[in-house]
Symmetry: C2
Amino acid sequence: MADKLKGNLVVAQGGGPTAVINASLVGVVQEALAHDDTITGVFGALHGIQGLLDEELADLGRERPDTLDALRVTPSSGLGSCRYKVAAADYGRLLDVFKAHDIRYFLYIGGNDSMDTAHQVGELAVSAGYDLRCMGVPKTIDNDLDFTDHCPGFGSVARWIATAVRDAGLDTEAIGVVDKVKVIEIMGRNAGWVTAACALARDHPDAAPHLIYLPERPVTMDRLLDDVQRVYDRLGYVVICICEGARGPDGQPLSISTGALDVDSFGHRMMGNVAELLCREIAARLKLKSRYDRPGTIQRVAGALASVTDRAEAAMAGQMAVRHAVNGASDKMVTLVRESDNPYSCTTGLVDLEAVANAEKLVPAEFINDAGNDVTGAFLAYARPLTGGPLPAYGYLQKVMVPKKLR
Amino acid sequence: MADKLKGNLVVAQGGGPTAVINASLVGVVQEALAHDDTITGVFGALHGIQGLLDEELADLGRERPDTLDALRVTPSSGLGSCRYKVAAADYGRLLDVFKAHDIRYFLYIGGNDSMDTAHQVGELAVSAGYDLRCMGVPKTIDNDLDFTDHCPGFGSVARWIATAVRDAGLDTEAIGVVDKVKVIEIMGRNAGWVTAACALARDHPDAAPHLIYLPERPVTMDRLLDDVQRVYDRLGYVVICICEGARGPDGQPLSISTGALDVDSFGHRMMGNVAELLCREIAARLKLKSRYDRPGTIQRVAGALASVTDRAEAAMAGQMAVRHAVNGASDKMVTLVRESDNPYSCTTGLVDLEAVANAEKLVPAEFINDAGNDVTGAFLAYARPLTGGPLPAYGYLQKVMVPKKLR
């Protein structure tokens, strides 16, 4: 056990919001308040590291307990977030703020960039001889942090997107006599974890989604259109889930590598989005009517369908970060460690912030099928426990047909 | 009481799927099965009127009761849907199918077009001297059927979109230091009811959405950008809900009237979507970073958040259509009649199919604010009871600030 380090704690939230990042925040706050012999005050920096630089600190010890309970199930980042990259010139200022407010604990809830920031802040304190414990709490719907089985935020977006894709798939099946193809564009730049989770929508053979494209497996537009035609010939309708970062063989996003000729009214090349591009190609080359859904930020912060497992683990990660810091740990991120799959159970571990900051965990090869247009059973087994239980069962008509009587 | 008309019943689903159209279907089926002294068989036509023409009839009396119970809470159209417009040449065939299968009851669940089809079918039977009772069951997320207080399907999409906009609004508030403006594109060609329902997201002053644009009130791009700048200057971020059918003063969709210069690689003028167009204009002219969400069909079939009120009313509408038909009514659509607002209660009525088929109920002037960029309290009072209860309460930090100690 390390020496007791008395002082104030600052917690901040970085990067894109999620459905459960506030559960981590409340986990931190409630645990910190329980250590009042060591942690003298619990502050929240508004808008991440930016709030720390601006000395914008809210006294979270003065929040009502029922506000914290309600915040635990409120999506998005209650303290506000940022994507500010700390510059060399900022470090002196940060140290001044720490000293001025006797901050001895700094907890950053976020993804790779936030972990990098937390690590830099920790290094700064060490080199300045200032006693500070820096801890990271993982958060990202992208699920792309390494050294952790999965990331808080992923299980909830997985549940939301599986629910939405199942429903939108039934929609296309019903109206497929009109709109033959539906393209659903999913968040993710380099890692296709969320797109992969669309496969959790399937509750019967031939259920949507029929094709899944991840950035991890480059695909040509020709190959993609062949896939679409083949599914259409078999089922009469097609539901495609494609990651916004899906790539062509040139490594460029499909939306750029294939849509390069499109220009706007100023003559600028248009980025477009991959779903819209795909719909245009399907219309032009397969002569099939299609439409696209692009849930965008709605998917990442959907609170109503948050995974109960994900929320509990998010809170646990926050809580454990405080405990470890109080016990002397620093420059570490809490990890989630899967103990068992059946029944699913999960505990926490620790990893060096520096290691996390410089790694990106993509969907591994064993989770993607050979054709590069679907996931494997191994992925489903990995992801399913994180979503907090099966989706509600739907009723599908058996359709015993009445014998035809006319020609 | 009319003479008892013995024979088979056919039910079909037309137009776009909804979260509760299967509740209407199950309402029809369960009520019809209870009239087995009159209704000898209960058939479902696959893919709407198309299935009737193709003699594709499922015997719904042979479905398991628990399948029907599960189907009641399953979104999309269990029988499949269509947008087929019955041609003059089809009517002889329809009559042949009715006669061949002794069909004496035809119930069509759908919107204006389906009501028109049901009316035409009824007229056909009368002119051919064939005893047939035709009834319409209202269904549309668009809420644009006249002579009914509201339409089954609307309350559920209203609840879904209010939930999604509240969450996406919190997302933008949190990350507004990066993405200043969020545009959410909502379904609706001529009627802005669903877009108006986004206002139900607000649970505190200054909550999103900040601007709401309906097709009922044409707007210039200049005016719209002025609105955005004004909200941005006040709050530092902006959430805009815009109907996909939002129009310019020329009566053309904004996406066409303003985006006319954009051409694709074949030189074709691009339709684009209004949200994407708006983001480009905001970037180019206001120099603000923006992004857009376009939930598309996901919004209209979202079963998990369906309004319990809407689902119960959808089932009631189906049930009452059967009862009225058995009692002799024909060529009518069941309407929803609001009896009281506090507590909310609703009963059913009847209206001529022909009247419904030829009318479209737009959002009335008293539901839109003078500036044309928001709804009124009267709209909120109208819409709120349809969503099945308030959204779950969220927790927002009070943020008692720690006094600054540095410059």
